[in-house]
Symmetry: C2
Subunit: 246 residues, 2 copies
DNA sequence: AAGTGGTCTAGACCACTCT
DNA sequence: GAGTGGTCTAGACCACTTG
């Protein structure tokens, strides 16, 4: 795409111009025109490029900023956001003194499998499609705290098949970005409750049948496709979560 | 306050004009100038009243709309919002077939007490201040499902002291609004797990020691003061909650 | 048809960040 | 000082709702 050319937006009937413009910009971002962390052109420049008034362009950018696609910094510029931080799962749990500490992670097993009905549904792939299954234990202060089952769609995450287990860091999302070019931008968590199986309890240093909390996460990238399904199990009594309702 | 007079806003240093204007409008709403459900004056009128451009006035209204204080309806007007619906607690739980059904509520006990340290802290009153304590059981399809402990600051909720128990409806927030003039606009919920005591389990038709979920709610009115502290206990296995992270 | 909020424009000026 | 995003203005026109 020629960067200096005029590219008019064509709002569909019933759609506002700034909404159409936001969609157009969203596509340019997702096409990789400005990689994550790099600034977009200045407002005046972008407005001229798309043949709209400054206020309209700003409305569009505000929309994208709300959606978390870009980030605006006064005096500096408008930047394409990278993925989520990665330690977000921890904000659900309260452990002794390790607040803000990144948990140590150990991959217990890694194997390519075929997607079950449940996994396929949540991951948005076909039943029987190849997926990478990870089993992972995360510890705080040498105490095992979180037991994770992770499913990743396989053509996409193939680089992880051979990656030496010793080189896996404590956070997965940065690894997704570096190794597989996948940026997680949005995730949904479902919180439920179930007693731990004997095997699960053993990993977590808890008695069998101990009450456990189950957090099922589906993570999505810029294009909205689900790139990760993760089930985390932990001590229910160490779980704590706060929400604001409006 | 004279409605037709010019009332200029005075933004504090470092504050934008629309922010100052929003604060001014917020005060006018909270002072009861336009009761809940009634429309504010038209944009052009309000802008003229406060001596600002239309765009600035709109920015201020957008702020208040985001905060849930007002609601804008295209072609109709800008309205002061009432309180929260009231059945919000249910969205945490999945029970058999009663989706969307409003649970039947029965008040088990009602007594004025003095605030303990914990209740005082969460309610924002002094230790020893009078509060009204309610014990309440809520059922779906004749099955007891939710056991609630509720504390209400007492000068404010005095009308509830004499109100015949037979006349209490199934929802509390509408009653708060009608009887005590209290509109709940915001609430925070904290979710945790704990085993049920024998007494709690008995009310819920569950065995003693059964795993329970505890939702602690603090509800606030327009002015930001806490008007309700509520602890809800229920079957942990029937608990389910979904969040979106961005 | 009249009144409401929603969109869009064109331009001025301010506040922040870097060099 | 030059470049960025943030605020504010004044006015035109559109879309929705109601009588």
């Amino acid at each position: 795409m020629a960067p200096n050319r005029l590219t008019l937006v064509q709002p569909e009937p019933g759609q506002s111009r700034y909404a159409a413009l936001a969609a157009a910009l969203r596509h340019r971002v997702m096409a990789g025109e400005w990689p994550a962390g790099t600034p977009l052109p200045a407002e005046t420049r972008l407005a001229a490029e798309h043949g709209v008034a400054l206020g309209t362009l700003r409305r569009a950018l505000e929309l994208l900023a709300e959606q978390g696609l870009i980030e605006r910094r006064h005096g500096k510029g408008t930047f394409v956001r990278g993925g989520l931080a990665g330690a977000t799962m921890l904000r659900f749990f309260r452990f002794g003194s390790g607040d803000g500490e990144v948990p140590r992670s150990r991959v217990l097993s890694r194997q390519p499998v075929v997607a079950s009905a449940e996994v396929a549904r949540r991951l948005g792939v076909a039943v029987g499609d190849p997926v990478l299954r990870l089993h992972r234990l995360r510890s705080l202060q040498a105490q095992p705290r979180l037991l994770e089952d992770i499913w990743l769609p396989l053509p996409l995450f193939a680089p992880l098949l051979d990656w030496p287990l010793a080189d896996w860091g404590d956070l997965l999302y940065p690894a997704f970005a570096e190794r597989c070019g996948v940026a997680v931008t949005r995730a949904t968590d479902e919180i439920g409750f179930a007693t731990l199986t004997a095997a699960q309890a053993r990993h977590l240093d808890l008695p069998p049948g101990h009450p456990g909390v189950t957090v099922t996460r589906q993570a999505y990238d810029l294009t909205g496709r689900c790139v990760e399904l993760r089930t985390t199990r932990a001590d229910a009594f160490a779980f704590h979560y706060a929400v604001t309702i409006t």
